[in-house]
């Protein structure tokens, strides 16, 4: 009985010691590892801080790069917008040049002039006297009219649907008049777009062209018109020799 109790006592103490040891060890281990991790954090923090500083620097650089790139994009956009306005300007210029060179049909206010040969006394061939040729519209007359119109600020002129531009020749071929190489005949209808008031006064001024033409017997009719349509040039002038310099 006594021996058994002694054995029992030892076993109990051993069990208690085992458990106590286990508890102490696990707790100690936990505390130790915690301290270790604390230590490692303390040890690593300067390195991590350094890295943070480096990364922040890189971040700063990248941000400034972003700013630069944004500015560049802005510049490009501005350039593009400028390009657009340039294109618009070019189109406007081209349109203006087309108007001046007669490559487009035009419409606007102006004057209408009708020149008609005086009633002939006979066939032209039978008229021997130069005086008999009075009352006929000559190429020079048309040139004169065109010149007067231009002087009065006409922007576009046409004779019998033939546009008159800088390269247009108004010539007499035999007893026919050609404009742009196309034959025109009486009655000659000259239309011009411009300030109709100005054009009218230029044509009808005292001792002016209309008066002088009428004096030769040509029938002249001049009227202002609100809406005149002038066709484009029937032929496109070739440029073979002239070069911009």
């Amino acid at each position: 009985m006594r021996r058994q109790k002694e054995w029992e006592r030892r076993l109990g103490a051993a069990a208690a010691a085992l458990t106590l040891g286990f508890l102490i060890a696990s707790l100690g281990r936990s505390i130790l590892s915690q301290q270790q991790s604390d230590f490692s954090i303390r040890w690593r923090s300067p390195i991590i801080l350094q890295r943070l500083v480096a990364v922040e620097e890189v971040n700063h650089q990248l941000r400034s790069e972003v700013d630069q790139l944004r500015r560049k994009v802005e510049e490009y956009e501005k350039a593009q917008a400028e390009g657009k306005t340039l294109t618009r300007q070019l189109i406007q210029e081209v349109t203006r040049l087309r108007v001046l060179t007669g490559l487009t049909r035009l419409r606007g206010p102006g004057v209408f002039i009708r020149l008609e040969d005086a009633p002939t006394k006979g066939p032209v061939e039978q008229q021997e006297s130069p005086l008999d040729q009075l009352g006929l519209v000559h190429d020079a007359d048309l040139l004169w009219v065109v010149n007067e119109l231009r002087g009065a600020g006409a922007e576009a002129i046409a004779i019998n649907e033939q546009r008159v531009v800088g390269t247009t020749a108004i010539r007499c071929v035999g007893n026919l008049i050609t404009v742009n190489g196309e034959r025109v005949s009486s009655p000659y209808e000259v239309v011009a777009i411009g300030d109709s008031q100005k054009l009218m006064s230029a044509l009808l001024m005292k001792g002016g062209i209309v008066e002088q033409l009428q004096r030769t017997g040509i029938r002249v009719l001049v009227t202002p018109r609100q809406d005149i349509i002038i066709p484009s040039l029937s032929v496109t002038p070739q440029i073979r020799f002239a070069r911009p310099s």
């Binding site: 085992l18 040891g21 286990f22 102490i24 060890a25 696990s26 281990r29």
Partner: protein, 120 residues
């Protein structure tokens, strides 16, 4: 005596092996503390009992394990209730440890004095 020491070493090594490298989670440590205190209390109590001659193995072993589990459970319940119930275990076991330790100290002191007087 050797058996006890061997058991203690075995327990220590087992605990070291069982514990994860990064340590137990903090929540488990909260339960471990009171349990350890209860175990210590039981051992001091057993010590006193053996000195007083009232030692009972069944009482010691049952007290050791039941108190340990109870302390852990108290800490767990306290955690659930968001109250530091482990403090109750700490106070109770702490007081008892000091009481028992005082008794043990007096017993040894008595014995020493007796030895000194008998020798003198």
């Amino acid at each position: 005596m050797w058996l006890v020491l061997a058991s203690l070493l075995l327990g220590l090594s087992l605990g070291f092996l069982a514990a994860p490298a990064e340590g137990f989670p903090l929540a488990l440590q909260i339960y471990l503390g009171p349990s350890l205190l209860a175990a210590t209390d039981a051992i001091v109590g057993g010590w006193r009992a053996s000195l007083e001659g009232t030692y009972d193995t069944a009482v010691f072993v049952s007290g050791f394990f039941v108190n340990m589990l109870a302390a852990g459970l108290l800490a767990f319940v306290g955690d659930l209730l968001r109250m530091d119930l482990a403090l109750a275990a700490v106070v109770a076991f702490g007081t008892r440890i000091f009481n028992n330790l005082a008794v043990v100290r007096r017993v040894y002191l008595q014995r020493w004095r007796q030895r000194v007087t008998s020798a003198g």
